[in-house]
């Protein structure tokens, strides 16, 4: 098996080469996913593993289940394609919809149930994929922005650990925000 003595930069020449390098990502539940190395390198975490030469072409990801991993790979593939010739590390991850042609695709991508959304956030954080982290967190923030604190607790199943007096105190001190 060839060891991955890869160059840091995915050069154009390599892209033109039909036998593009692939890596295998293994989810926590044992499923393996083979992806182009350049797609996998959308994740800074994976990128560092490959660059450090520790890959051996199969990278275990014990924090990510297969369901989530397949979605993450889908995201990375789509964004890598859209980035075209540019390197993953310099693709701009703006969430400004007027400049990002993927906005519609992204919006559909995050139409998932709450648990999946949170798992995607954790995965994006663990795998260090800035664009995905920004997209998923912004989606949750947008869900929150119209809600009162009580509605937040209900939507996200958060226990209110304040006593009534404590909660009143917090509200009083920050009264201006509630007006």
């Amino acid at each position: 098996m060839a060891s991955s003595s890869t160059s840091v930069v995915v050069s154009n020449k390599e892209k033109e080469n039909k036998n593009t390098k692939k890596v295998t990502l293994k989810s926590s539940d044992g499923e393996s996913f083979e992806v182009d190395e350049s797609v996998a390198m959308e994740s800074q975490t994976i990128k560092h593993i490959i660059e450090d030469g520790c890959a051996n072409n199969e990278i275990p990801l014990p924090n990510v289940t297969s369901g989530i991993l397949s979605r993450v790979i889908e995201y990375c593939k789509k964004h890598k394609e859209a980035a075209g010739e540019s390197e993953p590390s310099v693709t701009s991850y703006t969430s400004n919809s007027t400049t990002n042609p993927l906005t519609e695709w992204d919006t559909e991508f995050v139409k998932v149930d709450q648990n999946t959304l949170f798992d995607l956030i954790l995965a994006a954080n663990y795998l260090d994929i800035k664009g995905l982290l920004d997209l998923t967190c912004k989606t949750v923030a947008d869900m929150m922005k119209g809600k009162t604190p009580q509605e937040i607790r209900e939507t996200f199943h958060i226990k209110n650990d304040y006593t009534p007096e404590e909660e009143a105190e917090v509200r009083k001190e920050n009264q201006w925000a509630f007006e």
Partner: protein, 427 residues
């Protein structure tokens, strides 16, 4: 992860409401690191701002204020009935006691308010954020009974907190969570305010020592430091970049500007040259735009000019940002209205000159570097110096002796400042 989500909320009000969701949310949102990330994310925030007009410059039981708040489109709204006025500050305990009171300075969204317990021999100062209604009282300062005239400087200097292991993006990011501050009282030299003074007596309160102390300030160049002289008094004492600035006058001419940096040296002043093309015999106004010092000069029947200080070194490097000639200015419907209201039958040019005579500088628009607010008789006008267009914003008719511009940053400035050693967040 909570932090990653919450700092992406569009406005601070919701984020602060969410402090009441649970204790963990409280600890994340109150943490200075969160505030920093929030402010960094919102660094292109268009600030809301408010003009505060006060009918006095000294302690007065009849002080009242009028507020005009602006939305994103510069449309004004008047929040309070001007006859009642001071409810804006009614969270301050002294207000209910009807002591004489006076707003003496402002910085971003903070006000410095002075009061005096009747028949007592000391002044009390409050620093307050009228939006969050948080306030802090400074230790009292004794009055000496004789010299009541002062000029006040209120300096806030943000503390750069590098105790977190941040990535490059966060370094140098603005936060108002931690700051040190000073209140500087410049005492009027003597009865005669037009005297050349190479020394000034000041009283300085520092948040670092939590006490007042006296100091004598001098200048190595033997400049006239007197800020009470006519041209200097008109421009006032301006806080910018943690330093105070005022005009240095000699023989009724502007010589330059005094820079007083008490955080670094409370006994000596620096000096900067005036811009080359400044008219030295006309009045100027000083102000701040995005943490840079600016000069505005209005020359009757001549021009409006605007300079910005780019660099303090080499006795100051100024850049002229805008200049518009009087004859090129577009008064819009203001001209016609003025004619209608006053029944004037003059030519446009003559009417313009009459209106112009009443114009004084109010403030630099906090979001638009080309625009300034001007008083003109009974109205406030917004003047775009690039296009020369004057737009009436509103009319008012109360007497105004002092004015302040409150600018609300993307996160409200905490009063008192947050301690530097806050516990770290667990995500």
């Amino acid at each position: 992860m909570l932090l990653e989500i919450l700092y992406r909320l569009p406005c601070c009000r919701r984020a602060v409401q969410f402090k009441s969701v649970s204790k963990r949310w409280l600890s994340v949102i109150s943490n200075p690191y969160f505030i920093r990330r929030f402010m960094d994310r919102h660094r292109h925030y268009v600030c809301k701002f408010t003009h505060v007009f006060q009918n006095t410059i000294e302690l007065n039981v009849n002080t009242y204020i009028r507020l005009v708040s602006y939305d994103h489109n510069d449309n004004p709204s008047f929040k309070f009935d001007p006859r009642i006025g001071l409810e804006f500050l009614d969270f301050l305990p002294v207000l209910s006691l009807h002591y004489p009171v006076c707003i003496q300075a402002s910085f971003n969204d903070l006000l410095l308010v002075c009061t005096q317990v009747p028949k007592a021999s000391f002044f009390e100062y409050y620093i307050c954020n009228p939006f969050t209604k948080h306030w802090l009282k400074l230790p009292p300062i004794p009055t000496d009974g004789t010299r009541t005239r002062v000029m006040i400087g209120f300096l806030c200097d943000p503390c750069i907190c590098d105790s977190d292991s941040d990535n490059d993006r966060e370094q140098g990011c603005i936060t108002n969570a931690h700051y040190r501050f000073m209140v500087v009282r410049i005492l009027c030299p003597e009865e005669n305010t037009t005297q050349f003074q190479t020394q000034l007596q000041v009283q300085i309160f520092s948040s670092e020592t939590n006490e007042w102390r006296n100091s004598v300030v001098s200048s190595p160049r033997k400049l006239n430091l007197n800020p009470f002289m006519p041209i200097a008094c008109y421009a006032g004492v301006i806080a910018c970049n943690g330093m105070l600035h005022w005009v240095c006058v000699k023989d009724k001419e502007i010589k330059g500007f005094v820079v007083f940096d008490p955080f670094n040296d409370s006994e000596q002043c620096h000096y900067i040259h005036p811009p080359i093309d400044l008219s030295l015999r006309h009045y100027v106004s000083l102000g701040v735009f995005r943490r840079r010092l600016r000069i505005f000069q209005l020359i009757y029947a001549g021009s409006f000019s605007l300079w910005e200080l780019e660099d303090y070194s080499n006795a100051g490097t100024w850049c002229m940002k805008q200049k518009v000639y009087f004859s090129n200015m577009d008064f819009g419907d203001f001209l016609q209205r003025a004619k209608n209201i006053h029944g004037l039958d003059y030519s446009d040019e003559r009417t313009k000159m009459m209106l112009y005579r009443d114009m004084t500088f109010l403030a630099f628009h906090p979001n638009d570097g080309d625009s300034v607010f001007l008083h003109c008789g009974n109205s406030v006008q917004l003047c775009n110096l690039r296009t020369g267009v004057l737009k009436r914003v509103y009319y008012y008719s109360s007497p105004v002796r002092s004015k302040f511009q409150l600018v609300q940053p993307s996160w409200p400035t905490p009063v008192p400042p947050l301690p530097l050693n806050a516990p770290s967040i667990s995500n």
